[in-house]
Structures are given as structure tokens and as C-alpha cells.
Symmetry: C2
Subunit: 245 residues, 2 copies
């Protein structure tokens, strides 16, 4: 994604305030149709594996429409991630701010901070029909995508939320060295991402299908228990761990 052309239409079109009732139309707009087709196909075939021809065919628009509306395939990818990620991370920031207001200066419970972070992901994961679940998985893949541009975009889109939450955890756990905390947040982020992204691993482990594999509320409880315990684990001491044989 080396600095592609800019979208010729500028930012996402805002809904005209005069006719709030009729605003449902954007679902059928070319731009939205393209993004939604792309979300589905990128998940099925990857970014490189999805051609503009497959994409425009599925969206029911002309082949040239992608370049007209977004400027390039890379710019479409960026628009696709921004469309859902910006609101999601804004929600994260708002959730944390709300917790802090409620606490009124008292330190936050680590579990509450974790929940505020993972909740927006799980809410989106819950939305299977609207494409949210699919998007969450696409997101998990984007973190480890080979494209430098895509990983840089992810870093950019997450930077604000990451900083806010890291600082909140530092305040909540003043005794934990920053370095140790960074590792644990890294582990936690990885667990969340992998859990919602990988599809086949679970079946492999369980040996059978788990009925509750898609129950966002149960996943949230289980993740919360696991992550909170991990975050609050006793610090490893250099020589406490005996060498493996």
C-alpha cells in the first residue's frame, strides 16, 4: 500500500439531516456495496487472492467503479477498515472514560478495564448477519498480514486506544513494572484477536464441535476469567522456573 491515490469523493458521505427517515438508502449505494462485497471476499480469498473482477461481480457494480470511488484496491482496503474500526475504537475510548467517571478518582478494577476493551470486539463478533463477525476475523488476519502498508494502517488506527488503555492499566496496577505489564497486554491482545479470528483450531482441540462457539456472552465471560487471571499472575522470578529436561 504505497501511498495510493486519494478517494475522489472525499470522506464518507454523511446522511442528509433533512430526511432522517429515508436515510436507509446508503445500503444500496455503490460505495457501500463494494465495501460489503470486499469484506466477504477478502475473508474467503485474502486481499491478494480477491480480484477486482470477483469483487465488482459480487457487488453487482461495474469493474471500473472501484477505481472511480476509491482510487485503487489499496485505498479500498483502507476505507474498509476505517469504516468499522474508527467507531469501534471510539467506543473503546468512551467505555474507558465512562469507567473513570464512575470511579471518580478511585483506581479501576483491572477486570473492568479488560471488559471495556474486549466488549466492542465481542459486540461486533455477535453481529454475524451484518458482517461484523466476518470483519472481526478479517481484522485478526490484518495484524499479521505481510503487507507493510496494512500493518502500518492497523498501528495507526489502534494507537490512540492502545495508549489510553495501557495508561489505565498502569494506574490500576501501579506495582507491576511497565515492562511486565506491556508483555501481559501483548498476550491479552493476542488471545482476544486469535480467539475471534481462528475458526478451525477450536474444533481441533475440542475434538468435536462446541455448541457455544459463537455465543458472544459466554466467550466474553470465559475470556474475561482467563485474561484477568493472566494479567494478575504472580511475576515470574528468574530462578523460580526450573529448567526443562
Amino acid at each position: 500500500m504505497p501511498a495510493p491515490q486519494k478517494d475522489r469523493r472525499g470522506a464518507l458521505r454523511t446522511i442528509s439531516p433533512e430526511r432522517p427517515e429515508k436515510a436507509a438508502r446508503p445500503e444500496h449505494e455503490t460505495r457501500t456495496r463494494i465495501i460489503e462485497a470486499a469484506e466477504a471476499l477478502f475473508m474467503l480469498h485474502g486481499f491478494e487472492g480477491t480480484s477486482l473482477r470477483m469483487l465488482t461481480a459480487r457487488a453487482g457494480v461495474n469493474l471500473a467503479a472501484v477505481n472511480y470511488h476509491f482510487g485503487s484496491k489499496d485505498a479500498l482496503i483502507e476505507a474498509l477498515f476505517r469504516r468499522r474500526l474508527d467507531p469501534m475504537n471510539a467506543e473503546r475510548a468512551a467505555g474507558l472514560a465512562r469507567l473513570e467517571t464512575e470511579a471518580g478518582g478511585r483506581p479501576l478494577a483491572p477486570a473492568a478495564i479488560i471488559r471495556a476493551f474486549i466488549a466492542p470486539s465481542l459486540r461486533m463478533f455477535e453481529d454475524a448477519r451484518g458482517g461484523g463477525r466476518n470483519f472481526i476475523r478479517l481484522l485478526g488476519r490484518a495484524y499479521t498480514d505481510p503487507s507493510r502498508g496494512l500493518r502500518a494502517l492497523m498501528g495507526q488506527l489502534y494507537a490512540d486506544a492502545m495508549t489510553r488503555y495501557r495508561d489505565a492499566f498502569r494506574r490500576a496496577l501501579p506495582g507491576l513494572p511497565h515492562e511486565e505489564l506491556s508483555w501481559r497486554l501483548y498476550f491479552m491482545f493476542g488471545t482476544l484477536s486469535y480467539t475471534l479470528t481462528a475458526t478451525d483450531t477450536m474444533q481441533l482441540i475440542a475434538g468435536s464441535k462446541q455448541a457455544d462457539r459463537y455465543d458472544a456472552r459466554l466467550i466474553e465471560q470465559r475470556l474475561l476469567a482467563f485474561l484477568t487471571a493472566g494479567l494478575l499472575a504472580a511475576e515470574p522470578r528468574e530462578n523460580k522456573v526450573r529448567q526443562a529436561a
Copy 2:
């Protein structure tokens, strides 16, 4: 990867037992050169993003050599993963068997089982120069790759180790419901995979470079503390967790 042609040379060539000293030559064999170039390029540009032309140019072999030695690009990918994964999972199985022998019928400590599972990954991660670290990252990407064939291959290559370890954990934690255990193993596998695969996230979280980012021994201790705590966390109760605002 829809059932590609079979390798025309059959399985990996075994080293002639008559001349064990001279056996170092395979490093320069065409087949090995191709696989090693592929490991590096697949990490840099992805599977789809790496063309046979880039690959053979880097390996210093003829364009037609890939199809001659492996049959197809997909078959090369399969050979590449088998080459390192089969020994790694055999090592996992051996490590578990050793623990069980040492214990002589007594239940194993959960932390010891975790260590036996993650140790082979970390040992490979440690081998930056020989390409092991690169391979571990490639592996992490393969779990979430869009290609059905690749994910199926992963499942196949991991099936045995997964079953053995799952059963070991069940014996070590007889009180934990199987379903709950499956989720926790899933979380653990995700944490391990993501931790060793993702490169940019850590810097994003820490806000600066962590000096010990590549120290396999420290990573092992930190992972072990985190994962053990998560595995042994108190079971979440339906109503114990209050609803988020």
C-alpha cells in the same frame, strides 16, 4: 490447494547412512534452496504475493525447478510446512512422554505440560539465523490463512499433538469440565501463536522498543506465568460477572 500433483521425487531424501560425515551437502541442494527462499519470501510477501519468478530468482535456480521438484506451488507450500512441523510436533509428543515417564503414574503439573508444549516453538523461535524464527511467524499466519487447503493441512499436522496434550490436561485437571478446558487450551494456543507471530503490536503497546523482545528464555517464563494463571483461573459463574454499563 485443491489436490495438487504429487512430488515427483517422493518423500524427503534420507541421508545415506554410509557417509554420515559428508551429509552436510543437502544445504545446497536445489530442493532445499527453493524451500529456504520460499520461507523468507512467503513471510515478506505472503503466499499469493510471492511469484515463482521471485522465488526461483532468490534461490538461484531455474524457474521450472519448482514444478519439477514439487509439482506445483501448493505442493511446495505443503513440503515447506512438513519439513519443520513434523519434527517439531514429534518433539512435543516426546516431551510429553518423557514427563509421563518421570511422573510414574502421578498426575502431571499443569505448568509442566504447558512448558512441554511451548518449548519446541520457543526453541525454533530462538533460531533466528537458521530461519526458525521466520518459520514460526509464517506458521502463525498459516493458521488464519484464507486458503482452505492450508488450514486443512495445519489441522492434519497438529492433530496428533493436540489430542495428546488435550488428554494430558484432562488427566491433570480432572475437576475442570472438558468444555471449559477446551476453551482455555484454545486461548493458550492463540496466545502462543500470536505472541511469536505478530511483530508490530508489541511496540505499539509498549510505546517503545522492548530490549528483551527476542529473548526466548524470558518470553518462555512470561508466557508460562500468564498461561498457567489463565488455565487455572476460577471458573466463571453465569451471574458472577456484572453487566457492563
